[in-house]
């Protein structure tokens, strides 16, 4: 982790919080003290040896890290390349989200905060937040779009069982974007004693950088594991799905400066890019400001934020993190738009070939493999960001 603390490259965040043209802190004055307090303290807090010791101990003993890097032989044979799966689905709570919530709850404690507020789309980040709040004995309030609460009911029940208060966001499209608005409003109304745990690499600086650092454990482990298995720490491709983009940011982090490693991001095309029911931000968006940062954003000509659509609640977001906007604009990343159908098919395929039921979000990353024109000697790592139990009701409609 120490190696991740020094900004070294143009893909690292600037002092003012920008990745190229994207990022910054576009926040109302009401949020300025909170965000400024975090900005002034997060690097020192993370660098503190006592923080590092507690963070790593919890990742190992509570989350279950390191997660395995698994050679998927039957999938490899089917695709015609060597495919490794980074098993973030085996983390406690079933997804990579907890890497970030462990880090942020330790930051919140050191800032003296008594209450945690969070937004959630699929419910994975909400569950990961409720989990660490239970672990640390902090009050937890999670905002969730009322439509998402219906389609991800098991996760709502899990959050409640963990002692969190789940509040429906009833405005706008009643999904992740609106849950984020409500969580920000809650933070505005409770500025002193509350920490907002953002679940992705979005939001005002320093959130995108802080979340990417906590998730960077993914690529840190992949490097060591791949070296042991193949003799090289670098794959030819690193593949991950992108909604806001936290698992992708973690999977890409230690490869940002390795130009031989292609970074591949799978976005949700929904019913198709040109159908009006899509969440493929880089294909459909243009530069704008959402939730505190300048990024690529799906919007109308008048600058109103477009309601996104995806079968997967975790990718149903009209923006992407500013790091990913920069990867897209600079050409460092390859972005693929994956439809609902393609994702479903990839989800069923992995289940049958490898005995692993992936989250619908993750299934988008797996579907990208079919589009990448891979060669037989290519080595590919796919970030298997979450498990599919939460999506069974959706999958079962297509059984």
């Amino acid at each position: 982790m120490q190696t991740t603390l020094e900004p070294q490259t143009s893909f690292e965040v600037s002092n003012k919080g920008f990745y190229g043209h994207f990022g910054g802190a576009f926040i109302p004055e009401m949020l300025y003290p909170n965000v400024e307090e975090l900005r002034q303290n997060y690097l020192n807090i993370i660098a503190d040896p006592a923080f590092q010791a507690e963070f790593w101990q919890l990742l190992e003993e509570y989350v279950g890290r390191p997660t395995p890097l698994f050679l998927a032989k039957r999938l490899s044979a089917h695709i015609g390349a060597t495919i490794y799966l980074k098993r973030e689905d085996l983390c406690h709570t079933g997804a990579h989200k907890i890497n970030n919530t462990i880090g942020q709850i330790l930051v919140a404690q050191r800032l003296g905060k008594k209450r945690i507020v969070a937004e959630t789309g699929a419910g994975q980040h909400g569950v990961a937040t409720a989990t660490v709040c239970a672990l640390m004995g902090l009050e937890c309030i999670v905002y969730m779009g009322s439509i998402d609460m219906e389609r991800q009911k098991p996760n709502v029940d899990r959050m409640r069982m963990l002692g969190a208060k789940v509040v429906p966001a009833t405005s706008g499209s009643q999904t992740l974007k609106d849950a984020t608005n409500e969580a920000m409003r809650h933070w505005i109304n409770n500025p002193v004693d509350t920490h907002y745990i953002i679940g992705s690499v979005v939001g005002p600086h320093p959130y995108p950088d802080m979340v990417a650092r906590f998730q960077s454990v993914i690529s840190e482990e992949v490097k060591k594991q791949l070296l042991a298995k193949t003799g090289s720490e670098n794959p030819d491709y690193m593949v991950a799905c992108v909604g806001g983009g936290s698992n992708a940011a973690g999977a890409f982090f230690h490869y940002l400066n390795e130009p031989t490693v292609r970074l591949v991001a799978a976005e949700a095309a929904g019913q198709g890019i040109s159908t009006g029911h899509s969440a493929a931000t880089t294909a459909l968006g243009k530069p704008g400001v959402l939730h505190g940062s300048r990024t690529i954003l799906m919007q109308t000509e008048d600058g109103q934020v477009t309601e996104p659509y995806s079968i997967s609640a975790g990718l149903d977001y009209p923006g992407i993190g500013p790091l990913h906007a920069h990867l897209f604009e600079s050409g460092r990343g390859d972005f693929y738009a994956i439809t609902d159908d393609e994702a479903l098919q990839a989800g069923f395929q992995l289940s049958k070939l490898e005995g692993i039921i992936p989250a619908l979000e993750t299934a988008h990353a797996l579907a990208a493999l079919e589009k990448m024109n891979l060669n037989a000697n290519d080595v590919v790592v796919v970030c298997l960001s979450g498990r599919g139990d939460k999506d069974l009701s959706t999958y079962s409609k297509f059984l």
């Binding site: 004055e29 009401m30 003290p33 409003r185 505005i188 109304n189 704008g288 939730h291 954003l297 600058g303």
Partner: protein, 268 residues
């Protein structure tokens, strides 16, 4: 202060009047698309000092339920910045009844303004006679770095906010970089979410009053009746009413009588 700003209606207003100023907010395109100039005229006739017109946005994070809901309705009605400028186009001339002389502020979020083009936006503001803007999610340092010269060129004020959590050092900085007035957010809150004036608020009002800032101050958030307006006016140059007026428009309509009745309940 530049020459453009000395001719600004808001700076002129504060040069003449320093007590009990009333600024009333409404959302453009609410309740109906073409209500903008009707409400504007109603507020002017009722004697308000400044009118603040909201440019509706899909994701107004600093606003509470009432204003957020009015933003949604206005967008569904088809309101946009372009339409708003068209509606305001000849309001300063006497071609359609009484000319509008009251100072006008536009309030909104940065993304629609960025898509419209910041320079284009300022130019249109000058053209139709808008005096200033409030863009809560455009941070001060970024404004100063990228946009302040454009605003100055067209004589458009950018009004900045302070809150109970803003440090003294930052308030001094905001005061130094502000023209027109400072918008004092009464409490840690979004619009329309607080009721009345608490002792904590009074302490904050007194603390700011004692700072002897160079800019006048208007207090907003939670100002919804005569009592709160009076209290705010004791500690500042006046106050801003938003959500309460939106609720009034929803319940009592946009007629001049309805608007006058509302303004009278706040003032006396």
């Amino acid at each position: 202060m530049t020459q453009e700003l000395t001719q600004n209606r808001i700076t002129s207003l504060f040069a003449q009047k320093s007590e009990r100023l009333l600024n009333v907010y409404f959302t453009a395109g609410y309740p109906s698309l073409n209500d903008t100039t009707t409400i504007l005229r109603g507020l002017q006739a009722a004697g308000v000092d400044i009118v603040e017109i909201g440019m509706p946005y899909s994701d107004p994070v600093a606003d509470g339920e009432t204003i957020q809901q009015s933003n949604g309705v206005a967008l569904d009605n088809g309101m946009s910045i372009k339409t708003l400028f068209a509606q305001l186009a000849d309001c300063r001339n006497a071609t359609h009844g009484e000319p509008i002389t009251v100072p006008i502020l536009l309030m909104g979020y940065i993304n629609p303004v960025l898509q419209f083009g910041v320079e284009n936006f300022c130019q249109k503001c000058q053209e139709v006679g808008v005096d200033g803007v409030i863009l809560p999610d455009l941070p001060l340092d970024l404004f100063l770095e990228e946009y302040a010269p454009i605003f100055r060129q067209y004589g458009i004020l950018n009004v900045h906010l302070i809150t109970p959590q803003t440090t003294e050092e930052r308030i001094r900085f905001i005061d130094a970089e502000s023209d027109g007035f400072i918008y004092m957010v009464s409490s840690a809150s979004i619009t329309g979410s607080v009721k009345g004036v608490s002792d904590t608020m009074k302490t904050y009002f007194e603390r700011i009053q004692a700072m002897n800032l160079r800019n006048p101050r208007l207090i907003g958030f939670g100002i919804n009746n005569h009592e709160t307006f009076d209290m705010a006016s004791q500690f500042a140059n006046g106050a801003i009413v938003g959500s309460a007026f939106i609720r009034h428009l929803s319940e009592k309509g946009t007629s001049p009588e309805s608007i006058r009745a509302f303004v009278e309940t706040i003032r006396s």
